[in-house]
């Protein structure tokens, strides 16, 4: 298996007209929702899921991936120009980026963020390409018990790293697993918790759950908050960096790329965690740390590189192990399963077009995003002038048609309404919806592996501790859970999440 040959194959796939077009569409949509506050990648991807059914799997995933990393580029634009984070992952960019804009260096901040993101994205793409086949061969030696422990680890870390109370996040994971169990039992064919409703025998609709809890519930919550919209006062000057700025930004970009790549792979990690991590690091380590708070370019370069690197490397656990690291990746699993592809270690061999095509299209998408963002910045700033009151009916209408068109059945739309109410009340009780989505996706797979592992061990639960891989994974999960019970670490996490 030579990596160059595979990459060449991947570029062949990614450069086909259809895939290029949809990578561009994804990048454009991603930038747009990144710029617009109040609508994030999770909501957008869930409402575009039904549209992707008609496309080939590779094209669908290429477009959805473009939305995710495109949002990282777009989010920084509003953060720098308006002090308004378009995405959670660009919250820290507001700290230094907006100050830079007030100092008359808006152009430099935008250029740093775009170039830093591009560099980090390119490195992360290579990383995905290199580590994919490697991790896959490791994953193939996993038994059912190891898989079960790996998924448990993923669920626990995603709950530990979620915002708010760890206990309630674990509870949301558990509820997600339960919702995932609704439907026909795979081994016996018995209907579970379907209440005699035929539509439920295939399980709860993934699209309805994601759209309701993220799309619609977010609309209601956004409408409750009065609109915070500031007017653009800063003028975008020259996009060129001075020599001094190049010198200060380069090491930060490099550090940000490393931090982002590592935190992206972690289950429960992803773009926002990476941006926070890199910001903390820059504030402690960079040469310009005394400038922090006054518009230090390091505080833009590091986090922006990190969030984009993480957005790409978070595909690694999905593509090699079939385990989603965050809510966006859970949506990708949903998209793959609906296309009839079971994500897992065999995907590299059975779906080379998808695997290598996606990797190459990520790099092409990053090139596109550089062009979309830098010269065309004025257009995106104009987009900000669309008020939310005109935006939300459009989102609602797209959700309705999208949910209906999955099965041509209004039942899915009614389920979306019920999940919207559920999501709304969960938010009111400070229960995070993202861990629930990951639990929902992993639940059925966990049950299958648990049953298989217990059958092989003749009903002895000690198998999870006897196999070395499984025991290690469980130990890490236990440590992660216990660590969060320590008051010091918990405070550290709260501080990081609050920015």
């Amino acid at each position: 298996m030579d990596i160059l040959g595979n990459l060449a194959h991947g570029f062949g796939v990614a450069l086909s007209f259809q895939n290029l077009l949809f990578a561009l569409i994804g990048a454009l949509i991603g930038t747009a929702i990144g710029v617009l506050p109040g609508i994030g990648p999770v909501a957008t991807i869930s409402l575009l899921l039904p549209i992707t059914f008609g496309q080939p799997a590779t094209t669908a995933i290429i477009m959805l991936a473009g939305i995710y990393y495109g949002a990282q580029y777009g989010g920084s634009t509003t953060a720098i120009l308006l002090n308004l984070p378009g995405e959670i992952s660009s919250v820290v960019t507001t700290l230094e980026g907006y100050k830079m804009a007030r100092n008359g260096r808006a152009g430099a901040a935008l250029a740093t963020s775009a170039l830093g993101s591009f560099f980090a994205g390119s490195v992360a793409t290579v990383l995905v390409a290199a580590s994919g086949p490697l991790l896959t061969s490791v994953a193939l030696s996993f038994g059912p018990a190891d898989y079960f422990s790996l998924m448990l680890l993923g669920l626990i870390i995603s709950a530990v790293l979620a915002q708010g109370s760890v206990l309630k996040s674990v509870a949301m994971v558990v509820m997600g697993v339960l919702l995932g169990l609704v439907g026909t039992d795979v081994q016996t064919g018995q209907q579970r918790f379907t209440f005699g409703i035929p539509e439920l025998s295939d399980g709860i609709s993934f699209v309805a759950l994601a759209m309701g809890m993220f799309g619609i519930a977010e609309i209601i919550l956004n409408l409750e908050r009065p609109e915070a919209r500031s007017v653009l006062k800063t003028k975008v000057d020259s996009l060129w960096l001075t020599k001094e700025e190049w010198k200060r930004a380069t090491p930060s970009v490099l550090r940000g790329t490393v931090v982002g790549s590592v935190l992206g792979i972690l289950p429960g990690g992803g773009a926002s965690l990476a941006a926070f991590g890199s910001y903390m690091m820059e504030r402690k380590m960079s040469k310009g740390r005394h400038m922090f708070g006054q518009g230090a370019i390091e505080g833009v370069a590091g986090p922006e590189a990190a969030n984009n690197a993480a957005a790409q490397t978070s595909f690694i656990p999905l593509l090699t192990l079939g385990i989603p690291a965050n809510a966006v990746m859970a949506l990708m699993v949903g998209a793959l399963i609906i296309q009839g592809i079971q994500p897992g270690p065999r995907m590299v061999e059975s779906q080379p077009d998808l695997f290598w095509g996606l990797i190459c299209s990520m790099w092409i998408g990053n090139v596109m995003l550089l062009v979309i963002n830098l010269p065309m910045i004025g257009m995106w700033v104009k987009l900000l002038q669309v008020p939310y009151k005109f935006l939300y009916p459009s989102i609602l209408v797209f959700c309705c048609i999208g949910a209906y068109s999955v099965n041509n059945n209004v039942f899915d739309v009614y389920s979306t309404v019920l999940f919207a109410i559920f999501g709304y009340f969960c938010n009111k009780l400070r229960m995070e919806p993202a861990p629930l989505l990951i639990g929902f996706v992993l639940g059925p797979m966990m049950e299958e592996h648990l049953r298989r592992a217990m059958l092989l061990s003749r009903g002895d639960p000690m198998v999870f501790l006897q196999r070395p891989i499984s025991a290690t994974l469980l130990a890490i999960a236990a440590i992660a859970l216990l660590a969060m019970m320590l008051p010091n670490l918990r405070k550290g996490k709260e501080a990081a999440m609050a920015g």
């Binding site: 409408l223 009151k389 009916p393 959700c399 309705c400 048609i401």
Partner: protein
Amino acid sequence: MKLNAKDIAAGVFLILLAAVGLWLNQDHALGSARRMGPGYMPMLVFWIQIGLGILVLGIAFFNGPDPLEKWTGFEIGTLALGIVAGTAAMLAAPHLSSFFTTSYADLGLGMLVGFLVICIARGWRLMGYICAAMCAFCLLLERGGLMLALIATIILSAMAEPEHRQRPLGVLGMAVFLLALCWWVFIKQLDIRVAVWPQF
């Protein structure tokens, strides 16, 4: 008092849900640990949920105060009224017209009535109108066609925003734009199988 009302509500909710789930799970064979039946995994997970619920509830007595949003008696009353009116409408629907016996239209009518009733209270208005708009879409889509369903959805959802109520012309403009956009995206480009105009 250090009561955390949000956590108490969350804990009670978790325990109640798991208890109902365990009761429903009695229909499924448990099997043994070696050969797990369809009820085994749900049973495990429901018990974990009860445990978590008890923990959340226990900690809630010490980590507050974090009160729930001020839901007045009027709002709670409206919610109860909405549920009663909605259920009544759902049960009555099949007797009104044969239309309501197909494709969950009785459920849709019940939900629509319920959501519109809770809009009386300010605290529920946003949720009420947004959800009612979606129900109206479902009720109208198959007989009324996509265009009619969209118009109803847009008007009902616009009711949620006070500024729209003062400026109906803006809503009209938005509706025309969205109708054109949806027609172009979903009918022209994606060709989803749905009636566009009313069916008689």
